[in-house]
């Protein structure tokens, strides 16, 4: 029983970073932009948030939790938005190929994260291992009484505020897409930019806004990982392939942020299930780690075979749009 609860709790902890990434990527893809730079952007968001908190804690006499948290959120948002902006500018304004830009952005972003993660102490004058305990404690704080409820307290409430944010953002994104005018227009842009354009929707603005806000949401995933999951430290490539898992989750969730919520728990569970299956050798554990990707491939195949219009990727995904092209 206890093991099961721990497993579920850990699965959710793992899943949240992926959920942020997937929600951000869904919003981006709904505008027709296949942003393969999301893994890089998550690195950028993570390191920028960490650096913000680091410089604040280093500079302040008595660093407070709240300013630390706010500063790291702000830095993370700015850096991720910058990543989204680069992508949007190159693909929308300069009409470069989306796959190529995305991959370049992931190269850049991963390098950005690892570079600053690795050399931040040198830049700051050689303080050794970076750690932002104060700020991280803010990210890791759980709701006192509720999370102390025996048995289920930790499973239901043993998370920092970003977890809550991830769920709210995913739910809000779904609501936005399904129930609002902006969402309708966004879907239209991703399905058929020419139609949206003809209907008087500013296609480029939607693409920019969706891509940049998607990048910010994804960036929070990186921040969550660094602050809540790792407790305010940086490990080179520590984030691993979670960014790609987020891209995979978009497929599993059939481009719906609400479905991405449970999908992220499933991915989180699949990602760590090897720890909880007794008697599995180290080598076999590695094979089990491929499960999320295998599941994604199966979903991809199944949806392309079933061919239900609603389950397909946005129709213009990956294509740039230029009105006067004929």
């Amino acid at each position: 029983m206890n093991v099961l609860l721990t497993f579920l709790h850990q699965a959710i902890l793992q899943g949240i970073a992926i959920l942020f990434g997937a929600t951000g990527e869904i919003m981006t893809e709904k505008s027709g932009n296949l942003n393969l730079g999301i893994p890089g952007i998550m690195y950028m968001g993570g390191i920028a948030g960490l650096m913000g908190a680091f410089f604040y804690e280093k500079g302040a006499e008595q660093p407070g939790v709240v300013p630390g948290v706010l500063i790291s959120l702000l830095w993370c948002a700015v850096a991720s938005a910058l990543g989204g902006l680069i992508y949007a500018f190159l693909t929308v304004t300069l009409r470069a190929n989306q796959n190529v830009v995305g991959l370049a952005l992931t190269t850049f972003g991963t390098g950005f994260g690892n570079f600053f993660g690795g050399s931040i102490s040198k830049i700051a004058g050689g303080v050794g291992q970076i750690s932002v305990k104060t700020t991280a404690s803010g990210f890791q704080a759980t709701i006192p009484i509720l999370s102390d409820i025996p048995v289920i307290g930790r499973l239901l409430f043993g998370y920092g505020f970003l977890t809550c944010c991830a769920l709210i953002i995913a739910a809000a994104a779904t609501w936005l897409l399904v129930r609002t005018r902006v969402g309708l227009h966004l879907v239209a842009v991703g399905e058929s930019p020419a139609t949206a354009d003809a209907a008087g929707i500013n296609v480029n603005r939607y693409k920019y806004v969706a891509t940049i806000s998607g990048a910010v949401i994804a960036g929070f995933g990186g921040l969550y990982f660094v602050m809540e999951y790792l407790g305010g430290t940086w490990a080179n490539n520590g984030f691993g392939d979670r960014g790609w898992l987020a891209v995979a989750l978009v497929i599993l969730a059939l481009w719906s942020p609400a479905k991405a919520i449970w999908g992220s728990f499933v991915f989180g569970a699949l990602y760590i299930i090897y720890i909880y299956i007794p008697g599995v050798s180290r080598a076999m554990q590695e094979l089990l780690k491929m499960l999320p990707y295998v599941v994604t491939i199966l979903v991809l195949i199944m949806t392309s075979r079933r061919n239900r219009p609603e389950d397909q990727p946005p129709a213009s995904l990956g294509l740039s749009y230029f009105r006067e092209e004929r």
Partner: protein, 538 residues
């Protein structure tokens, strides 16, 4: 309110080397229906796209309600009350009708779909449309989709409506309904532009007619003061009597036969329904019909590009053997050494490869020739040079990508290639679409040459005058069925038009006089087609 809803002054639009609109000036009065008439490629759609914000003019001025405006986007057009219904529907298939209708509309951030659906229902019942606002577009038929498009524009309260060839995809009843709605709008004081090349519709619906020819504005006339003949003259320029040299068919015998062929499209709709006919060597069989009546599918099923659900396609080889083409792939047909040539409607989408040069495009037919792994480029290059010389293709060299050629030259390259293989069956779809008169006549000559050399020619056309003067027999398609087959030398445009829209032969008319004197009055058209094929079958 200014008396002119729209005024265009010297509007010019170029696409690279091509001038689509050359200093066009015209006016649309408030509360009138104006037809814009012109042949394919005369620049009608391009001109209207500048009003709806799809294109931006290179030169010239646009006035709306007497005020000079800049229309940089469809949004700007909306703001000015201009709504355009495109030929290719701009609808999003995974959304519902209602969602499509409100797309791009301003309003409360949160969507109240119940209220919106109610508004739409009120609107549709007022105009007598039949539309379920909650139906998804991908579940809809073509005319339902058009209804959504029109309701969309009305819902937005546009007072200037532009319809781009709206009747091309409609049945006669649907056309009547559409015209009824348009007249209702005119009564409301709205201004309507309808793009078309069908003269009878022009005469029926419009108050005035503006004529374009090859991107140039020719003039505007009051409908009541003009006739179809005068309009035709304006449309085609100096009066040209089609003087196609038509030889009588010689040594005709059966070459290709369709027996009860039925083809369904992806939506399960029967696009060809029990088609039977015979094509003979040494004659040109014309195929007429409202666009989208199954012409494309008919040719494609012979070429092996459509899945034939039932029925047979038979080919009589010169040796006397009868071979079955049903369900054969293009490669199998090629391997059977049947010289079947096909000029499809969508030239750059099917017949040619836009990014390849002329030589590369010759290879589409010939690259398989010869043994071995390597493709021969010498022969195709020679052929390309020959075609350029013979058909006077205007191109810098045979190494120019065909995408960079003009429409007429693209067509010449395609027809030239298809004829080069000395086909026994030659299928052409709209062979002169977008071509100037001289090029068109060059193509007619080529088709007649092929016929005289003993090919069975199938020619899908839209211009009935041409079909009547070019072909020996004309098969009329109507909604995927054979409405009848008539002798081109004795038929009239009116008769063809009647068959196209009604789906059967006029009562009392003797059909197929060219064929063993079979009188067909009284029998239904499909029976007749079947009995015809039945008699000639082995």
């Amino acid at each position: 309110m200014h008396e002119n809803a729209i005024e265009l002054r010297n509007v010019t639009k170029r696409f690279g080397e091509v001038t689509a609109n050359d200093h066009v000036s015209l006016t649309l009065r408030r509360g009138e229906i104006l037809s814009i008439l012109g042949e394919n490629g005369s620049g009608k759609t391009t001109l209207m796209n500048m009003l709806s914000g799809i294109y931006f003019p290179d030169e010239g001025e646009i006035f709306v309600n007497g005020r000079k405006v800049t229309i940089r986007s469809p949004h700007d057009a909306f703001e000015l009350g201009i709504g355009m219904i495109h030929q290719h529907f701009k609808l999003i298939s995974i959304l519902t009708a209602a969602q499509n209708i409100i797309l791009g509309q301003k309003g409360p951030a949160k969507l109240d779909m119940r209220q919106i659906t109610g508004d739409i229902n009120a609107l549709t019942s007022r105009y007598g449309f039949d539309l379920d606002p909650n139906k998804k577009i991908y579940d809809m038929s073509v005319s339902e989709k058009q209804t959504v498009e029109i309701v969309k524009v009305i819902y937005r309260g546009a007072d200037i409506l532009i319809l781009d060839e709206p009747t091309a995809v409609l049945t006669p009843q649907e056309i009547e309904k559409l015209f009824y709605v348009l007249r209702r709008m005119r009564e409301d004081g709205k201004s309507v532009i309808i793009i078309t090349h069908k003269l009878n519709e022009v005469m029926e619906i419009s108050d005035r007619v503006a004529v374009l020819r090859k991107g140039q504005y020719i003039g505007t006339v009051e409908t009541k003061d003009t006739t179809e003949e005068k309009l035709t003259e304006m449309m085609v320029g100096e009066h040209i009597t089609l003087d196609i040299q038509r030889a009588d068919p010689a040594s005709t015998h059966r070459c290709l036969e369709m027996r009860g062929v039925t083809v369904r499209n992806r939506e399960g709709f029967k696009v060809l329904d029990d088609i039977s006919f015979i094509a003979r060597t040494g004659e040109i069989l014309g195929i007429a019909g409202i666009s989208g009546s199954g012409q494309k599918e008919l040719l494609e099923s012979i070429a092996g590009l459509q899945h034939v659900e039932s029925g047979q396609i038979l080919y009589d080889a010169p040796s006397g053997a009868v071979e079955e083409l049903t369900q054969k792939t293009p490669k199998q047909i090629y391997d059977m050494r049947i010289r079947l040539s096909f000029v499809p409607e969508d030239r750059l989408g099917m017949g040619l490869v836009g990014s390849m040069d002329l030589t590369g495009n010759m290879m589409v037919r010939s690259y398989k020739q010869g043994r071995g792994f390597f493709a021969d480029r010498k022969q195709p290059e020679k052929l390309a040079t020959e075609i350029v010389d013979k058909l006077e293709v205007a191109t810098p060299s045979v190494h120019t990508p065909v995408r960079n050629l003009s429409g007429g030259n693209v067509q010449k390259v395609l027809v030239g290639r298809e004829i080069a293989s000395a086909p026994r069956v030659l299928m052409v779809a709209y062979p002169v679409r977008g071509l100037d008169i001289n090029s068109a006549f060059a193509i007619y000559r080529l088709l007649n040459q092929q016929k005289e050399q003993g090919a069975a020619v199938l020619c899908v056309g839209e211009d009935l005058d041409v079909l009547i003067q070019l072909c020996d027999r004309i098969l009329v398609l109507s909604e995927g069925r054979v409405a009848g087959i008539v002798d081109a030398r004795t038929t009239t445009k009116e008769e063809l038009g009647y068959m196209m829209t009604s789906g059967h032969v006029a009562a009392g008319r003797v059909v197929n006089s060219a064929q063993a004197g079979q009188a067909a009055s009284g029998s239904s058209p499909s029976d007749e087609a079947q009995s015809e094929s039945g008699k000639e079958a082995r």
